[in-house]
Symmetry: C2
Subunit: 264 residues, 2 copies
Amino acid sequence: MEPERQDEGGAATGTLGKAIAVLETVALADRPMRFTDVLAVSGQPRGTLHRQLSHLVQEGLLELRPDHSYTPGLRLLKLASASWARNEFRAVAAPFLEALHRETGETVHLGVLRGREIIYLDKVESRQAVRMNSQIGNASPVYCTGVGKAALSVLDAAALNAILSGLEFRRFTPQTLADRASLLAELSEIRASGIAFDREEHEPGIRCVAAPVFDAGRALFAGVSVTGPAYRVGQEQLDGWAPRVSHAARAITAELAARLGPQR
Amino acid sequence: MEPERQDEGGAATGTLGKAIAVLETVALADRPMRFTDVLAVSGQPRGTLHRQLSHLVQEGLLELRPDHSYTPGLRLLKLASASWARNEFRAVAAPFLEALHRETGETVHLGVLRGREIIYLDKVESRQAVRMNSQIGNASPVYCTGVGKAALSVLDAAALNAILSGLEFRRFTPQTLADRASLLAELSEIRASGIAFDREEHEPGIRCVAAPVFDAGRALFAGVSVTGPAYRVGQEQLDGWAPRVSHAARAITAELAARLGPQR
DNA sequence: GACATAAATTCCATTATTTGGAACTGAGTT
DNA sequence: AACTCAGTTCCAAATAATGGAATTTATGTC
């Protein structure tokens, strides 16, 4: 057995960590799971898992339906609601994302740099509020997403270096920038133009334009993007959207400085 | 010390329960809390609390900022997104709530009966997506809210009796129905009309019209409401909205039966 | 800049909780 | 009636949490 993980963080969180892993398994599943379903993926002994699920149910984080399937509980929804409403960065950016979506008609993302990955914080997809899609909270590589490259482009040399060293490149598509030199070259172009593209570098058939959003004082490096399918969105279209994306990104950056900057 | 709680559920959830209590304290606070702030409300020893917070941070449920304040973490946002998107009942009702809001211009609520309380599941307030307000997940008394009385009105005698026995009435305003007899009388009127009002019975200056939503097969009893301030919304206005509210409630109820009913 | 004060963090023997294999229950099937 | 499978309960052993006190680190004051 592996006694330690090499990842950042380090120490084990004991009981809580296992319980949250179970919670996440159930909450992120695309359909209600029954006891045996959870047992199969959790890799824990029956007795242990049963007690963990019982505790989660008692706490209101999960709900046990009459048919013995587990679903997210109302208390989780409450925490959900609160953490969503109180994420300042997301809240500041939201109206700009909406505007960008109205202007382009395509999917708009807000992603933030976290270690060596991009985590999606918000997404605006359809005009009707189909908010909080499951994409939110998910991680993607920095080096082959528009938002990722945009965020990298505004890092200082030291921080960039810290991320690049130890970054493992994987070729997702033929277009993926799969080595340090290509990425660095691309980043200096992005620094010059203020715009990053994803030309089917992560997923075949998916393109995007992105621009950086940041608040250096808070070590916040992020990006906004407009994404579309390649069959409908050509390079000219991306170029056409670039000014709007850039404008939105600068507006959010300015708003961050104004709203969060002059505190205490 | 009290060895047991008389509340439903019973057994203690040990470590997890305490950790979640801490998580909730921080996540529901209206501003970032520092260690001492949490210590003051948690009532736990320093060492214990510190380890709990550390674990929550390591799990990504909380985030520790450079200024030593704790805020909800990205993993909580991820769980948020998922549990929000996957709550079937909320998702089924959402478009009808939107429509009701467009028709009335006032705040629309969706609340569900949980034990002896109403828990708010969704809320549509402004046209711009200010969704997931902090009200969501909060509990209110059944006997003095429109949604609560609407939900009670569709319960069968046994279930209603189980809730009423042991219900403690509190007079929030001069209009509050603060005893069983008044409430029962009101409920039979609601049963006859299919419409419940809150005439400043819970909060002074706040009125609403509500109608019941239910899926008896799943023991789901809920309600939708349109709420407004008394200075702007008179009884005539509530009466005027009543048909629309009632229509929305029946539409949701029907949709539930169609979407959730014929499963397995 | 040095000092005083408060806040945050670490330590570790004690204590309580989790662990997990196995036995039990009950519903559905052959 | 015997069999299977999902879910639940049990309890001695192993493990993780506890919490008071000491230590380090931040913050404010003169």
